[in-house]
């Protein structure tokens, strides 16, 4: 067996996939991607289709919701899963991305006279803004460790929310309306309209695929090695020549960028945002998704992002007797998380490394 093969070989689907020739791997990935693009039509699949689609919210909209939750989970996974930095205020970056877009494009914005940009023009500016926010937050705080970092990031998200609530520029509850949709038309009709959410989902999915490719490239390079080394033993990493601060800051900036992407898409689809959109629960929910899916592992983060969005949406409009299940979504959701964490503490799709870490700890706790 070659060194490369032994490095990758493992049980399960991933292990099987890892042993296949390159073209098989790409074929499987291609099929999976095509299947993902076909998701809006899953309701047409006999028997199981109708069970899957949501009832209280139209299915394409639910899919779009999933797409930005997945983006957030992927971004947070870089910060928490790869670099091992606990960020409790991740929604702050989502908010910065969305507000950046709104400020540059909405007629309600004080900048409108000067800018009044189209959505697409605002995207790069909003993303640069979120990255800057990531660096500004990271620069002074990344010297802190563990719990302290968590508290500061929590504060960051609250600051963003409170500023959004109470400053005139960000308009609090009144929010920003008429944020333009993404551009493009097809046969005279705009592609991104108000009624059909399918194009938004496709756009989100495309962005997700690009993010996955980018993060994968980083993970399998000195950047990923440095992150992992920092997570495992920060001091030893630095003594081995890793510029720990630089790579932690990059993790923050990249996480912020991906979160900002989510916000930009969200603003483009909703066309309206206000300060109620970015509550703290949001951050906690995304973090729960990442941990539940399996942190440190993109497949896990994606699954986590899907679940935190899908479960509540699926509960919408369902009722048992007189009780509307949607009312109980957080309770049910909490129960699901608890069950998952009891049965699979390393997450649904554990990172290979994390799984081993936990297994060893189990042995330590209960020696034979």
């Amino acid at each position: 067996m070659s060194e490369k093969a032994s490095f990758r070989s493992n049980g399960g689907v991933r292990g099987w996939l890892g042993r296949q020739p390159v073209w098989v791997r790409w074929l499987v990935i291609l099929v999976a991607a095509v299947a993902a693009y076909m998701l809006p039509y899953i309701g047409d699949v006999p028997v199981i289709g109708p069970q899957i689609v949501t009832e209280g919210i139209d299915w394409p909209s639910a899919l779009f919701n999933m797409s930005y939750y997945v983006l957030l989970a992927l971004g947070l996974n870089v910060v928490v899963g790869y670099a091992g930095l606990l960020d409790l205020g991740y929604v702050g970056f989502f908010a910065v991305g969305a507000y950046g877009t709104a400020l540059l494009t909405s007629p309600d914005s004080i900048l409108y006279e000067d800018t009044g940009w189209k959505w697409l023009m605002a995207v790069p500016a909003a993303l640069i803004l979120t990255m800057i926010a990531g660096v500004i937050l990271g620069w002074p705080t990344l010297r802190l460790r563990g719990d302290y970092l968590a508290i500061v990031t929590l504060g960051f998200a609250e600051i963003i929310r409170i500023v959004a609530t109470s400053t005139d520029v960000l308009r609090g509850d009144r929010g920003f309306a008429s944020i333009p949709h993404p551009p493009g038309s097809w046969g005279g009709e705009p592609i991104f309209g108000v009624t059909d959410a399918i194009p938004y989902f496709w756009l989100g999915l495309t962005v997700i695929i690009l993010v996955i490719l980018g993060v994968r490239n980083l993970d399998r390079s000195r950047v990923g090695r440095s992150w992992l080394a920092i997570r495992e033993d920060e001091e030893a990493a630095e003594v081995m020549g890793v510029r720990t601060f630089k790579y932690k800051l990059w993790a923050f900036a990249i996480g912020a960028f991906i979160g900002g992407l989510g916000g930009v898409l969200f603003a483009g689809e909703q066309s309206f945002i206000n300060s109620q959109t970015f509550v703290l629960q949001f951050s906690i929910l995304v973090l729960a998704g990442v941990v539940m899916g399996g942190s440190g592992n993109m497949a896990g983060a994606i699954l986590g992002g899907v679940l935190i969005s899908y479960i509540p949406d699926r509960l919408r409009g369902l009722s048992v007797g007189d009780t509307d299940l949607y009312e109980y979504r957080f309770a049910l959701f909490g129960a699901v998380i608890i069950i998952i964490m009891v049965l699979r503490p390393q997450g649904l799709i554990p990172s290979r490394r994390r799984a081993m870490e936990l297994k060893d700890r189990e042995k330590e706790v209960a020696p034979q």
């Binding site: 490095f7 010297r143 980083l218 992992l228 630095e238 003594v239 020549g241 890793v242 990059w250 081993m356």
Partner: protein, 297 residues
């Protein structure tokens, strides 16, 4: 043998947070660090009246010695003598309270750990500190990355430099694993390696940073005589590649057999310096090792 003790320093985070410009450029992965003005041709590292206090504890008390290029230098002394602290001062983990440390004629006091590493000082730890969930090969590649210049952008877009450095780093890391004799474990997660293999892996990881000076903190701790003999061979082999070796060791026989010169510390003070033969016959060394029963190694 030695009791495990905390090697983690007080927070040095204020240091960490400050961004640093690139240190003096180094040639390429294989190149020697750029030569800097050396006062005395033969001297590689100079510990100059270094004192290091932890609150009331004086871990190093006015210690001075210097290392010559190409030698194997022993640093010995009873438990708690300050040997590891000396390493920590040399690698930027602790900052000396007083005194200077010069490497190739240039002061390294106040430099960051990663700068010192890239400047040419590598080390291992008394209590093995590998990256446990990484494979042996990846561990070594982290060391090899120290001299790589692949940026986040070139990693993201897989630009030519990424491929070039990834390939050469991998080849060099495999070669180092072979050099220390654990190439067959390259793909195994390092926590699954045996204790002896982990110690060797730590040496390979340190060598991957292309050091001029390699500091080994009790590399033979817990080894049986046969393993110790192998390690001796390895240390000599390392020296023969042109790397200067600084060795902390408790086993007197091992130290005497391999080192060219020795410094003896006791309670943070240098009590003797010289060739193994000189040191062995020095009365205060004999007293330090035999006279104080609780400190006997």
């Amino acid at each position: 043998m030695s009791e495990p003790h905390k090697e983690t320093p007080e927070e040095l985070d204020r240091e960490n947070a400050r961004p640093v410009a690139d240190p003096a450029p180094t040639g390429g992965p294989q190149a020697e660090p750029t030569p800097s003005p050396v006062r005395d041709e033969g001297v590689l590292l100079e510990v100059d009246h270094v004192t290091l206090r932890f609150g009331g504890v004086v871990a190093l008390n006015d210690v001075s010695f210097s290392l010559r290029k190409g030698e194997i230098f022993g640093l010995i002394g009873p438990n708690g003598a300050g040997k590891t602290t000396c390493f920590n001062a040399m690698t930027g983990v602790y900052r000396p309270t007083e005194g200077q440390i010069r490497f190739q004629g240039e002061s390294i006091v106040g430099k960051k750990k990663h700068q010192i590493t890239r400047g040419g000082i590598a080390r291992t730890f008394q209590n093995v500190r590998l990256f446990p969930e990484m494979t042996a090969l990846e561990n070594v590649m982290v060391g090899a990355d120290a001299h790589h210049k692949t940026s986040v952008i070139s990693a993201l877009f897989r630009l030519p430099r990424f491929w070039r450095e990834e390939k050469s780093g991998r080849a060099r890391s495999l070669e180092l694993l072979r050099f220390v004799g654990i190439a067959h474990r390259a793909g195994d997660v390092s926590r699954n390696l045996s204790y002896g293999e982990q110690r060797r892996l730590e040496i390979a990881r340190a060598l991957a940073t292309n050091p001029t000076l390699l500091c080994l903190d009790e590399p033979a701790a817990g080894f049986n005589p046969a393993e110790k003999e192998d390690l001796l061979q390895l240390i000599r082999k390392i020296r023969d590649t042109g790397v200067t070796v600084l060795l902390i060791e408790h086993d007197m026989r091992l130290v005497m057999g391999v080192t060219d010169r020795i410094v003896v510390l006791e309670f943070g003070k240098k009590i003797a310096e010289g060739t193994p033969a000189e040191v062995r016959d020095n009365p205060s060394v004999i007293a330090a090792y035999l006279g104080v029963p609780t400190d006997a190694a």
